[in-house]
Amino acid sequence: MASSSAPDRSPLRLVPWAAGAAALLAAPLAIGQGYELHLLIIATIFTIVASSLSLLVGYAGLLSLGHAAFFGLGAYVSALLLLRLGVSMWGGLVCAAVISALAAFLVGGLVLKVRGNRFIITTVAFAEIMHLIAVNAVDLTRGQMGLDGVAAPKVAIPGLGVIDFGTKIAFYYLVLAMAAICIATIARIVRSPIGWGLAALRENENLGEAVGVSAFRHAMIAFVVGGFFAGIGGALYGHYMQFVSPDLFLFSYTTTMLVMVVIGGKMSIAGPIIGAVVFTVLPEALRVATTYRLVVLGTILLIAILVLPNGLASLWERRRRAPAAALGN
């Protein structure tokens, strides 16, 4: 998709991104430090997770229905390191990312050879196994009770005083920075030769293989990077909520992420961001109708697949591309 249209090199293309970044940095001034900021933090964490899933579902064409496994694994790794070994969140984040990526590597070695529907089913099975372990390994995880007291650290910076990441405002800037790193990395990958390889794998695997694109290797790279950032997202989520439970592995988390990616736009950098914001805010807006909330979400997902297969982001892209196409003709 990206390779078919001429790359837009004008500096103007960065304007919306710069404006968005400025707005996000200034957001706490406008919305205060209460419930709205909480929603924004959750939306930012899910931006990380949804972007990592879009690399798989969108760019690589691998429908992983077990993404919650890496999200939950990251949360548990960081929480357990803090509670059992006293490793702070910083070490926890690194270990969560590395261990989730490693898990993705091992699972990938098993399932990426059998892609297609077998891949989809196996990813579900993997998340389910992780859930069963979290529930049943009570000595380590405290089972259904979950782990509480997953604190965020305080950092003393000479000259600036102490930053307490237990506060919403500090944690907000932390997740914002992490989301920026994650999105920049994924944007870099999809525009690199690896991204072209992924496109080949998605569009026509046999043809790709024929011209020397190793489907297995590319799928593996997408899977490992996806696991890496999902692990970071999970660790951040655990430290922000200060609580980790086996529920993080549930299929409902995977479907939430999937809805964000699909309705936001699965083959666009902006798509998962739009999706994460809309589907963090929308359930809150639908709160008046709590019982009907998920019925509405399911219906929206179905309709979106039927009428808007490339997501909300495609509305914007279509508008931007339409005049260019008209000029070209």
């Binding site: 529907n117 196996t122 299929f251 479907t255 999937l258």
Partner: protein
């Protein structure tokens, strides 16, 4: 311990037969329509919840409820194929899978809105008194479920092998372009496949719901179990999923003897082993 073995075998057979019932529909939808139906467990749930609604709330007799539930869910299956899956037939496979995920969310929560989240029993009118069959203790509801399940599987077998529509379905499964070329209506075959699969899942729900409880979230586990069975038996193989269902039911039942906490993990571990060593299922000849 050893004298309990026949009891565990019987329980495993009962659960395994209903796994088979659900998995046969799933594997047909997969084989013929190339859709991994993640809403399949929700059709099973709908069977159970409708069964509860018709018997416990409307007071209908259980023996009338069973065929009625199957027909209603089959009609829903026709409607879904017509409104959703027919439109997505020539889209990438991922679109239909995503649509089934949306459908699963929708059905599960619609059931929650309609019937509430709490587990409810189906009013069968069967006696609760245990019956002794040799070394095995059981109840009327369980005997009814086992007999009906195997009866339904036999009917499906006869339908696929003896009827014109069943033959058309098998032909489409083997080679859908060639089937279309000799005049088989692919629309009709797909509609029949989805309706039949939905009906079998609903039958499983209304039969097992008479033994356990029914609740709106019961579908999620059922979907996963059915997929395990389908992988064990080989994707798209109908006979394989019957045997796969029985194997999983027996393995879980006997697994309870070892560790009840990890009983549900047995299936997932089996799947991973199968994918490692026999990726085409247990029964595929290489």
């Amino acid at each position: 311990m050893i004298d309990l073995l026949p009891q565990f075998l019987f329980n495993g057979l009962l659960i395994g037969a209903s796994y088979a019932l659900i998995a046969v529909g799933l594997t047909m939808i997969f084989g013929i329509m190339n859709i991994a139906n993640f809403a399949h467990g929700q059709l099973y749930m709908l069977g159970g919840c409708l069964g509860y609604f018709l018997t416990a709330r409307l007071g209908l007799h259980y023996l009338l409820t069973v065929p009625l539930v199957v027909l209603v869910v089959m009609a829903l299956g026709l409607l879904l194929e017509r409104t959703i899956f027919r439109r997505l037939r020539y889209e990438p496979a991922m679109s239909s899978v995503l649509a089934t995920v949306g459908l699963a969310i929708l059905l599960e929560n619609a059931a929650r809105v309609l019937w509430g989240p709490q587990p409810e029993p189906i009013a069968t009118g069967f006696s609760q008194m245990p019956i002794q069959l040799g070394p095995v203790f059981t109840t009327e509801a369980r005997v009814f479920a086992v007999v009906t399940t195997f009866g339904a599987l036999l009917l499906v077998y006869l339908f696929l092998n003896r009827s014109l529509l069943g033959t058309a379905m098998r032909a489409t499964f083997q080679q859908s372009e060639a089937a279309a070329l000799v005049g088989i209506s692919i629309d009709k075959v797909h509609a029949a496949t989805f309706a039949l699969g939905a009906g079998l899942a609903a039958l499983g729900g209304v039969l097992l719901g008479a033994i356990f409880f029914v609740y709106p979230t019961m579908g999620t586990t059922a979907t996963l179990k059915a997929f395990i069975v389908v992988i064990l038996g080989g994707l798209g193989s109908i006979g394989g999923s019957v045997v796969g269902g029985l194997i999983l039911g027996l393995a879980e039942s006997l697994g309870t003897l070892v560790s009840s906490a990890y009983k549900d993990a047995i299936g997932f571990v089996l799947v991973i082993l199968i994918l490692l060593y026999r990726p085409d299922g247990l029964f595929k000849r290489s």
